[in-house]
Amino acid sequence: MQMPQAAAHSPGLAPIPEAHEAPRDKQLWLAIQCSTPDLDSLAAWAKTITPLVSLDAPDGLLLEVRGSLKLFGGLTAIKQKLSTEIQARRLPFHACAAPTALGALWLSRHHGDDVFSAEKLASRLGDLPIQVTRWPESQLQLLSDMGIRNVRDCLRLPRDGFGRRLGQRYLRDLDYAFGKRIDLRPCFETPHQLIRKIEFAEETANLEVLRNVAGDIVEHFATQLRSYQQQAQSFGVFFHHHKCAPTYTELLLISPAHEKHRILEPLAARLERVDLPAPVTALEMRAEQLQAMEIQMNQLFQGVDAETDSFELQMLVERLRGRFGESGVYGLKLMPEHRPELVWVKLTDRLLHDSSETSPVSPWADERPLWMLPAPVPLDDGVMRFQYGGPLRFESEPERIESGWWDNRDIRRDYYSALTACGEKLWVYRDCLTRQWYLHGIFG
């Protein structure tokens, strides 16, 4: 029987080029050397290639790509993707892969080539000048005084002597680079909140100034959110004062946003309504509840479709909430309940989503008033007698509503619809326990 291996080694086949050589070690690290103040955003982007991304400040980025090779079709494809992204940002960079993280980093600092096996790594690292290690100048001076030029020379020194004279840390670095010690690196996580604080040169209570500064912060957030491919739903604003505690206000969007105008418009309305007890020394904003961006396509020809409708409603609700607060703008929802005051609830969030999810509510069978009073008003009360003076005439048989013994909001009432002398139709009840009459609703 012919073994498959035998076929692979038959003389007709070309030797497999190194770049396609399957990595034999457990890990393959791709180090990217790239000088940019916005390394975080690059790291956030790199998360689309592999979940294992690590930052090496100030200019190094490490990606563990062993698990991503198959998905993206090899290291060359990944590097191609990377170069497209970084070139789009107009940044110079160098990337190279190696079985160890620190090894890859050192190689990339010297603009080296990809290495896949531990043996090759050792020889390549050995050739590197000691400067790639970025050890402190004093240590490097010490080594160069000893006549050491490259990494291989370091390994020739006695281990314990090296550790004693330079420090254990540098010995560990060598072990990490050559894969003799497991290198655990902190994984880069996209932030859970963005914070930005701007201190004023002198305290101010000028709304215009505060609005402009808030606009700058929102612009900064918008850029950051875009680069992290994230959206924020809630924004906290702190107005710091000289002596008293900061004034705080929170803006909760109906759906997460990353666009400047969607955040700024309700925010500006909110700022107008903030009561400041003292002039402001600093403005601090936090973008919270970050979540992955959901792309909404902007259509070229916007018809009246459901998508734009719900977006319009979002904008309306956010604008109104910016001014009247979250509790001032709400929808209505029916509950499976018999007690008249508990049968409905305010729907403050998920205004948009519920509309499609809820099953159609069967119409209420009993006659109910269109107006409900916030709380039942005793009919003996002076104001009510004045307003609804004269005897009430009952129009209906009493309807007994008795419920809620289980949650201490026990009610036992006889409801009547009644007419006043002036022709107003009211919904009144008598509490069966206290025999007291109450007005509960108005047939508007």
């Binding site: 009246v304 719900s310 604008r319 109104l320 703008v329 209505l332 209420w364 109910r368 008033p369 107006w371």
Partner: protein, 201 residues
């Protein structure tokens, strides 16, 4: 050229009668539909309502039309209602609760006007009901323009004192009622003389 041609080209102004009135929104009450030009509530315009007291059927008058509007994609916005619109009664009238949005502005005059205008200008709303405490001719003109622009029906409940003032509203009605009837006194109606209609409650 026939007379009909002339009239249809609207070169000739006629004092009353056969002017082209945009189709109204059926009120659900035959007597009222028959009275109102266009056969219903004027759309994309303000309907002004004056009433002496609550509880004479002032909301139920609008419920059939609102119930029909709530079946569409757009929303019905309530600004500063004096009491709580009671959800069971709304569903009983056929209003889809998923299309109801309530707004409680602060008590300052400009705030509720602002809220109404925002609602009118938003493409997402099909009707607004608002209880305005103070508002003048200029405010209403703004709202009227916004209502026209977005074809949004705006029902404004205003204090009786405002009845004496001018108004750009397409329809102004005063409601009164007794135990059997609700009386609709039409103070102003675009394309029709004032009059009154009584409906059974």
């Amino acid at each position: 050229m026939s007379l009909d041609d002339l009239i249809s080209r609207s070169r000739v102004w006629r004092g009353s009668g056969a002017r082209a009135v945009p189709r109204g929104l059926a009120t659900g009450f035959d007597a009222l539909d028959a009275y109102l030009p266009g056969g219903g509530w004027p759309q994309g315009a303000i309907t002004e309502v004056f009433l002496e007291r609550y509880g004479i059927g002032e909301l139920s008058l609008f419920m059939p039309a609102l119930a029909r509007l709530s079946q569409g994609e757009r929303w019905i916005v309530w600004v500063d209602p004096p009491f709580i619109p009671y959800a069971p009664a709304l569903t009983r009238s056929g209003v889809d609760l998923n299309r109801v949005l309530l707004v409680h502005s602060s008590t300052v005059k400009q705030e509720s006007l602002w809220a109404v205008e925002q609602a009118l200008r938003s493409k997402s709303s099909v009707a607004t009901l608002a209880w305005l405490k103070l508002s003048d001719d200029r405010d209403l003109r703004r709202l009227q323009l916004a209502a026209e622009e977005r074809a949004c029906w705006s029902i404004l409940f205003r204090p009786l004192a405002a009845m004496r003032h001018r108004s750009p509203a397409a329809l102004r009605i005063k409601l009164s009622g007794d135990s059997q009837n609700i009386r609709i006194e039409i103070i102003k109606c675009r394309g029709k003389r004032p009059g009154s209609v009584a409906l059974a409650r």
